[in-house]
Symmetry: C2
Subunit: 238 residues, 2 copies
DNA sequence: CGTCATTTTGAGGTATTTCAACGAAGGTGG
DNA sequence: CCACCTTCGTTGAAATACCTCAAAATGACG
């Protein structure tokens, strides 16, 4: 269902309209639109662990991921940190409310980003229905991802949540290339904060999945599904 | 922050763009746009407990709430039910993936809905940037609501989750009219499924808030904040 | 190769879930 | 108008699961 748009030469979007009767069709921007965006987009190359923007700061730009992984999180008063989303290739981020970002964005791996000034983007959107349409589909995509996360976090069992998380990552790995390997770019700590678990719980769940012979972890950032049957059963048995 | 758009005479949308630097501005549809939508929108009057559409059914329409409350939920294989969202006045719903609705929608109270055929809407969106812009803002609003829910569900304590939920409902009550009363249109069961708790836990949390002298429940569908100070403390202390 | 952050493992506490039963409310039909 | 029934809500006790605190081991990085 996930498809990657070509990114060579500039930012691209993958859009799926709300209520679409046509399904998850890949909608690439026209060349005209890509050049348009290129005109107002700045290409950034950032190292890992770099803050892209901070929560509550003035929201002047939106971003599109060209390559790499970015996380969006909020630091709660208790000192805990909630990871709201992971952004992968072609994902759009920079959601604001009242003119300020609703969360902090930080790179996980080395990334390529396309930064677009809202002041420049808005007038362009106002006169290009197709372009707004692309953004509409992109935001709808984010909404679906958020709903999925809510489902995941709502689960009671740690191993089930981890299984769903790995399933999600697998989709992205398949996206990039056909390997049985699941790449896990983020740390256990980030995973825990995304799943609404403690770091220890994620650890134990990982070991449990390994002991059960369902998943094999080769290194901390790569996993492989050993028993697909039972894995799918865990994922869907919520 | 929440503002209600006039709904007399047809569907209206309340939009907030992604990454807006101008803040939560109320953006009403122009009269031209309202009439345009009226042309393809059907006004529905539904009684409580009526299914609007079922999960996985073919997504042919999107809906806008004119009056009343609607819930969106998914039934999980385990028999449990997850309420993904409550929709109030001016909310847009009918999210699809692959041409099928991602959840079931059901009325809670008596509602007025505006039903819009996607087949009729899409071509209209394609040639009207302002209109797509409104929908973009609306979906962004839904995304923010979903992120908020994720934060809520991520909390460990039941009373805190219930407090945040009541806080959310209070915003909507204030929206409609200035009363210290919080209207709770949904059942305890729906509340529990939204918060990721059991019905019993919601009950106990309600009684706890009452015993602590923070909230007073007058009837099952109306609450009143007694101790605002401690209430806010609970809401923000996550 | 040493330092430091991250990860793993262990044991105990605490919250919610579960299971079960009771009480209340709303809706239907006689 | 009342009786009945179904659904929803409330309360109690035990079990499970995760969280917290603490310490050791592994891996990353300069």
């Amino acid at each position: 269902v996930q498809t990657v748009a070509a990114t060579a030469g500039g930012p691209s979007l993958r859009g799926v309209p709300i209520g679409s009767a046509t399904g998850d069709i890949v909608r690439l921007l026209s060349h005209r639109q890509q050049s348009q965006l290129s005109g107002i987009a700045t290409e950034l190359h950032l190292p890992p662990r770099m803050i892209v923007y901070r929560e509550d700061s003035c929201a002047q730009c939106v971003f599109i991921v060209g390559r790499g992984t970015v996380k969006a999180f909020r630091d709660l008063p208790s000192g805990k940190r909630r990871v709201m989303a992971f952004m992968f290739q072609d994902d759009l981020f920079g959601l604001a409310e009242g003119g300020h970002y609703v969360h902090t964005a930080q790179t996980i791996s080395a990334v390529t980003l396309y930064r677009i000034q809202v002041d420049a983007l808005t007038p362009m959107l106002r006169c290009d229905p197709e372009l707004v349409f692309q953004f509409l589909g992109k935001v709808a995509h984010e909404l679906r991802a958020s709903l999925r996360q809510t489902i995941i976090v709502g689960r009671r069992d740690a191993v089930g949540r981890l299984a769903m998380f790995l399933h999600m990552l697998e989709q992205h790995s398949r996206c990039l290339r056909h390997t049985p390997q699941i790449e896990i770019p983020m740390s256990r700590s980030d995973t825990a904060n995304y799943l609404g678990l403690t770091l220890e719980a994620v650890c134990r769940a990982s070991r449990t999945l390994e002991r059960m012979g369902i998943i094999a972890f080769t290194g901390r950032h790569v996993a492989r599904i050993v028993d697909r049957r039972r894995f799918d059963k865990l994922v869907t048995a919520l």
